[in-house]
């Protein structure tokens, strides 16, 4: 049974293909007008889940409800779900206006209504006067706008977007994602957005569903996901993160050994046995070069690498006493003298910025710098 306010509901959804399980134990309740993103690496099951909502794949088990109606086995053309594809999927033989009108013609709306609605949508996407253009006469960004208008024309109950910006260049991607969010807010349409780009997910969504290996890792608002990752996978996948392996020296005060160094978190680590191993996550932006506040945990190490990235300088250091690798950014303020490679430095961070991670799947491949915030 749906909770009050739930508009789109996925309950215990599982999808098996011949050789593997693509989605397992997927439970999600989306409220009307909410913008939810499925975020995860390739092959995590996010697109399969979206395709099950659209009806292109049938769940092996579980139910999908839209506004209380079980649509799990309903064919895609009877679901009233709008879909925007990565490849635009505009009908090449039709003009932009005809593409937008397609769904309305299928529904046998009066011609005047169709013409009016197409005009409104072309205006909404800022393409008035371009309705007579064929898809090949439009840029990628324009084609995706038309695809969005086409999906919105039928006034769908749920709008699904499958990596709609992946094929566009960075500048257009940024402007179009703001447009998508503005249009979604304006129309108040319930939206599910699939992306592997965490920046897109964080900037667009009311809530994010982080997925890995067909399962939900965490569901939360962008700040909940970023500031309070539930698992090591989420912590590593969303944003850049230093994960330090520590062992508990004293649970009541949160005293930990990081390699041969000792830090104190100033909070209890209840349930953690003395000598037990744990993962401690620290965002690079929380780390400060120098001693910092007297209450801040400090770590000492040697600078291994320095990258000049314009406004910031990215420093990578190796912690003394086999403490592991640590990365942090420092602003390139006028007069800033970055440390030298090989130089021994002390860094500090607020104790409450360190997150003790639950056990969770680790990423097979480390996230590259370009992919992370």
């Amino acid at each position: 049974m749906s909770d009050a306010g739930t508009y789109l509901e996925l309950a215990s959804v599982r999808k098996e293909f011949a050789t593997h399980v693509a989605v397992e134990g997927f439970d999600l309740a989306v409220t009307r007008g909410e913008f939810v993103s499925f975020l995860g690496p390739s092959g995590c099951g996010k697109t399969t889940t979206l395709r099950m909502i659209a009806g292109f794949e049938l769940p092996t088990s579980g139910t999908i409800r839209i506004d209380g109606r079980d649509v799990s086995l309903v064919s895609p053309n009877a679901r009233n779900v709008g879909m925007v594809f990565q490849s635009y999927a505009l009908f090449p033989n039709m003009t932009a206006a005809d593409n937008i009108a397609f769904g309305l013609k299928i529904r046998k709306r009066p011609k005047d209504d169709i013409r009016k609605r197409v005009g409104e949508l072309l205006e909404l996407i800022g393409m008035s006067g371009k309705g007579t253009k064929f898809p090949h006469e439009l840029s990628g960004g324009m084609q995706q706008r038309v695809a969005l208008a086409r999906a919105l024309a039928i006034e769908p109950q749920v709008l699904l977007l499958d990596e709609p910006l992946s094929a566009l260049d960075a500048k257009i991607r940024l402007s179009l994602r703001q447009e998508i969010r503005a249009i979604q807010r304006q129309l108040g349409i319930t939206t599910v957005y699939v992306t592997h780009d965490q920046e897109e997910a964080l900037s667009l969504s009311d809530r994010i569903v982080v997925m890995s290996q067909g399962r939900i890792e965490q569901v939360g608002t962008p700040s909940e996901i970023y500031d309070g990752p539930a698992t090591e996978f989420v912590a590593r996948f969303v944003g850049q993160l230093n994960v330090l392996t520590g062992h508990v020296l004293e649970g009541s005060t949160g005293r930990l050994g990081i390699g041969a160094q000792t830090i104190e978190l100033g909070r209890s680590l209840d349930g953690q046995p003395i000598g037990g191993q744990l993962s401690l996550a620290v965002r690079p932006e929380a780390i400060e070069l120098g001693l910092g506040d007297a209450t801040h945990p400090r770590l000492v190490g040697a600078v291994k690498d320095i990258q000049f990235l314009g406004p910031v300088i990215r420093v990578r250091m190796w912690l003394d006493g086999e403490g592991g690798d640590l990365r942090f950014d420092t602003f390139n303020r006028p007069g800033t003298v970055p440390p030298l490679v090989g130089e021994r430095v002390t860094v500090s961070f607020p104790a409450d910025s360190a997150i003790v991670l639950e056990a969770g799947p680790t990423m097979a491949d480390p996230v590259e710098d370009e992919d992370i915030l």
Binding site: P76, F85, L90, N93
Partner: protein
């Protein structure tokens, strides 16, 4: 580095440039010769046929005789109508098949392609004896004219299969049928709408190419039409060749001209087809 070390580089480049140009010119001449041989191979038989057809004392008399014969037009019209029905049936059969195989069972593509090659393996004469055996007695379709026409069209659809199926399959390969289908489905379209309004217009040129090949096959086919005793153009031409060789040569050239006219129509109808191609392919 001495000056002598630094200077020798330009000389080989200057020598190499005309050498490369000469090589390009020689390659170009070879291609012109190949093209000329190909043109001669194609044009000489036509010219010989025309020469033969113009041999009677009154020039072009053979053409006058051929044009005056009402049987020519009857047989041409019959074959043309059979070709049209064959095209419609072949498109109606092979477009959904090729579409479905690509969309839903791509693993079966090699099997289906093999099946489409069967008409090359089974000679027309074997095929027609099989048809006569089945539809002459077991299912007596050949006892009526309409029944015989149905069997003839069925046989021509089989003959057309390798050409039509491959033409359609190539056309489908050029578009993202999965995304287009899913986009249409999400907008509320059912299968007939998807095939007729989304897929078919986007493989128009492929269909026209296939249709042209069907036309060419049907207009020139002799064996099946002859054994089924249908008034097609092939048997008429053969009969004419036995009795009146000069008009037969003239009719051959006329049919050739008509076939080329059909090709011209395909090219004309297929013009301005950029709209059907994926954007990425056009840019």
């Amino acid at each position: 580095m001495t000056q002598a070390d630094a200077t020798p580089m330009p000389a080989p480049i200057e020598k190499a440039a005309p050498k490369a140009a000469r090589k390009r010119r020689r390659g170009s001449r070879v291609w012109w010769v190949v093209l000329l041989i190909a043109v001669l191979y194609f044009v000489l038989p036509l010219f010989a046929t025309f020469w033969f057809s113009a041999r009677p004392r009154v020039p072009l008399a053979a053409y006058a005789i051929a044009f005056r014969d009402p049987e020519l037009w009857n047989h041409l019209l019959y074959s043309f109508l059979v070709a049209l029905v064959t095209m419609v049936v072949a498109i109606g059969l092979f477009l959904p098949t090729a579409y479905w195989v690509r969309l839903r069972v791509p693993r079966l593509r090699p099997v289906v392609e093999f099946v489409t090659l069967m008409p090359f393996v089974v000679p027309a004469v074997i095929l027609v004896f099989g048809l006569i055996r089945v539809y002459g007695s077991a299912i007596p379709l050949l006892s009526t004219r309409t029944g015989s026409d149905v069997v003839l069209v069925g046989a021509y659809v089989m003959l057309a299969m390798p050409y039509m199926y491959r033409a359609i399959d190539t056309g489908l390969r050029a578009i993202d049928i999965r995304s287009l289908t899913e986009a249409a489905q999400s907008l509320g379209a059912g299968w007939p709408t998807i095939i007729l309004r989304v897929i078919l217009p986007n493989v128009r040129v492929a269909l026209l190419s296939g249709a042209f090949l069907v036309l060419a096959i049907v207009m020139g086919e002799f064996t099946i039409a002859n054994y089924l005793a249908r008034p097609a153009f092939g048997p008429y031409l053969s009969l004419l060749g036995n009795n009146q060789p000069y008009p037969a040569a003239a009719v051959s050239l006329i049919s050739f001209g008509l076939t080329w006219l059909a090709l011209g129509m395909v090219a004309y109808l297929g013009r301005g087809s950029r709209g059907r191609l994926p954007a990425a392919a056009v840019k």
